[in-house]
Amino acid sequence: MRAGYWNKVRTYRFLIILGLTIVMGYIFVPAPDANYVTLGWGSSTTFYRGVYNSAWIGALVAMLTGMFLTLLGFYVVNDSVKRDEQTRVGQIIATTPLRNSDYTLGSALCNFAVLSTMIAIVLLTTIGMQLFRGEDSIIDLWALVTPFLVLVLPLMFFVAAIAILFETRPLLRGGAGNITYILSWLIGLPLLSESVDLFGIIAIRSSMSATGLAKYPELAQIQSILGLEWGFPQGRTLATFTWQGIQWTSELLQTRLLLVGLAIGISLLASVRFSRFDPARETRKIPEALPSDVLDMNEVQISSVVRLKEIQLRPLDAKALQFRFEPILFAECRLILRELKELPFSGIWGYSVAGALIIIGLLFPLNEAHGILLPVSWLLPVLIWSKMGTREAHHQTDQLIFSSAKSLKRQLPAVWLAGFFLAIVTGSGVALNLAFHGEWLGVLAWFVGALFIPSLALCLGVWTGSSKLFEFIYAMLWYIGPINRMEILDFMGVLRGSVEAGIWQFYLAITIILLGLAFIGRKWQIQRG
């Protein structure tokens, strides 16, 4: 457990997400003279909120940290089993008396320890924040710490357990799990925070509201704010009240204990049908020995002599060593097609679905094809795109490829083009539909989308060496932009408003920047020493 813990906290990923959480916490507690607000009640003349005491700041930062880390925390800890597999430590673990349930529960606890470390550090910065904001210099540790203990830590245990569960289910491992989790978070979050008050927002707000109302009865008529609201009018006065913190009812505590119990249950569930690092229980079969692998001592010398006479390595002339781009592009495209086999829905079934989407995209009414089918068509290949720029590091072929001549100018463009072709082919049905309807601006926006996706994937893959960041960002963009109709994030050009506003030009510019960054990143990879 200790080794797993240190492995995770010593990563850049841990530091970056911790840093982001602290920054978000800082932003979420605006200075009194800031031109935005985050939590309170606003009328035309007055803005009401609690004094920045330990209770108020502790609750605010705890809420935000809980929301933030239930999403990002997953990606910090969702590689415990994978690490044991890759390092082959798993095979050693498999030979010990350690039960599956002990392993999964232990891994979940390790994940929880990592996330708790983040919480502890955020807590310390929260103390600093209260002193920095300067409205109340008395540190009430109980009021500051209890929202984190009661609201956030059970959530972290839940995330820790979910991460292990995902890792032990073949269909939820790797990229598929990354995408599934973020989409579940985006779709499930509004439901869960309303129905079961997952982040404690309802409990906190109603407690704050009760205290505020006691001092300012007019609050009953005023809309409350939770989230960033810009344009805080300069003329508004600030009215504060002192909130002493939430009253922890047995009902609230029971819900949190239930969450902890659920997390333990999930950790134990993860042990059911866990492969225990047995390659025979994975999809890969153990190869049978071929005749050439079997050593027959009596025949070694004779066969060596006979075989050596047959070997003639014909030399290559200068003409055979003139580089052409088509073979490497063909090879990269074949690599992509082979990787389709790794997807949850692969083989004939996967090709059929992709083919059906192309045909339906061509034949369906344009609005449905454009608005629904294109996003679906451009979600399926995400696990292929996410590998762009990372294959060399992931499969350890970097030494072979980077020691070849001009790999930057030869191989990298081929990688990008293969990803671009994938976008073109999978989205071709909708593109043709747009063209038949004379929607040339839509075709242009679609084309820019096809350029943007592999560029984002390649840039993030080259710089991070991992598929996770692209999977995360792409899923967020996909859900918030084309699906939830936010025009500025409509990189596919499915919204009429975004196409007419020329948003595609913005993505074209970003694409060029991303390609430049990908080139620079790969050059640095090849040259570093």
Binding site: R284, K285, P287, A289, L290, P291, S292, D293, L295, V300, S303, S304, R307, L308, E310, I311, Q312, L313, R314, P315, L316, K319, A320, L321, Q322, F323, R324, P327, I328, F330, A331, R334, L335, R338, E339, K341, E342, R391, H395, Q396, T397, Q399, L400, I401, F402, S403, S404, A405, K406, S407, R410, Q411, Q527, R528, G529
Partner: protein
């Protein structure tokens, strides 16, 4: 014959954030033929291979290929390089044929020539029957043979092989040594290994590294002369083995009915029962060189 010369001048390598030098002022002048690079684990062999393969840069010093500094113009050597790293991966979903075609495309080999070359190489590495199986189903030895094949795809003028026979059976190792011998005439071949017998069978020139230093560079014959008259053998009871290991530089221990027949490298007779052994082996010469570099006494 075309000019082939690899000049390594005072090359040192220190890794970032560390005071540890993996290589210290190594200088080697290598032309066509097979140079065997010997050394224990951690000697710096793989680091030197990676520098020559332009995977990493030296902290100090220069490497020139036919007069060109490869740090400044790495493609000059990359275009004629065949490199088999000590640890490498493959794309598990490709089969051997597809992977070799992929690497041939990366190396700029024409498709028709690549097809013929891959056919030859698959015969050579004895993977013709397995060519259509995905590489994820390959054993370690099979993967190693694919590595050897990809290193030879572009008919390289400089071939660097780092621990190439790991995972190969005896037949495979013999075949590989013979191939190296065939290729050596018109190429620079650097064979890095800790297996002395591989070097003994193939190399006409040997360089020994230890803890980043170049300990010795000579032909096999000159190396053997170093230990001429310094190999002693006698029989000891089994219970004296531990003490013997601590006291002497043992090169061989063979258990027989009358006891343990040991061979020791020593400047003078280490025991009254000891007598001078027959022909010294290259392994003994290697052990002697490493021990002398460490400053260990070989005459306890």
């Amino acid at each position: 014959m075309r000019l082939l010369r690899l000049l390594i001048e005072n090359v040192s390598k220190r890794y970032k954030g560390s005071d540890f030098f993996a290589l210290r002022e190594i200088s080697l002048d290598i032309d066509h033929g097979i140079l065997g690079l010997l050394g224990p684990n951690g000697a710096g062999k793989s680091t030197l291979m990676r520098i020559i393969a332009t995977i990493t840069r030296p902290t100090n010093g220069l490497v020139r290929w036919n007069g060109i500094d490869i740090a400044k113009q790495p493609d000059e050597i990359r275009s004629v390089l065949g490199y088999l790293p000590q640890d490498f991966g493959v794309y598990p979903n490709l089969n051997a044929d597809e992977f070799l075609h992929y690497m041939a495309a990366i190396k700029g080999v024409d498709r028709k020539a690549a097809r013929e070359r891959i056919e030859d190489l698959l015969v050579f590495v004895n993977l013709l029957e397995a060519r259509k199986r995905p590489l994820k189903d390959y054993s370690g030895g099979m993967k190693q043979r694919i590595g050897i094949a990809q290193a030879l795809l572009n008919d390289p003028k400089i071939l660097i092989v780092d621990e190439p026979t790991v995972g190969l059976d005896t037949e495979g190792r013999v075949r590989f040594r013979h191939l190296l011998a065939e290729l050596a005439g018109e190429r620079v071949v650097i064979l890095s290994t800790h297996i002395v017998s591989d070097v003994e069978a193939a190399a006409n020139d040997i360089a020994i590294l230890n803890k980043g230093h170049l300990v010795n560079r000579s032909s096999p014959e000159e190396l053997l002369k170093l230990v001429h008259g310094k190999i002693w053998e006698w029989v000891i009871p089994s219970k004296e083995l531990t003490a013997a290991k601590q006291k002497y530089l043992l090169s061989s221990i063979i258990r027989r009915q009358d006891g343990l027949h040991i061979r020791v490298v020593a400047e003078t007779s280490p025991d009254k029962e000891a007598k001078l052994a027959g022909s010294p082996t290259l392994e003994e010469a290697y052990l002697y060189s490493i021990s002398a570099h460490r400053g260990a006494k070989v005459n306890e």
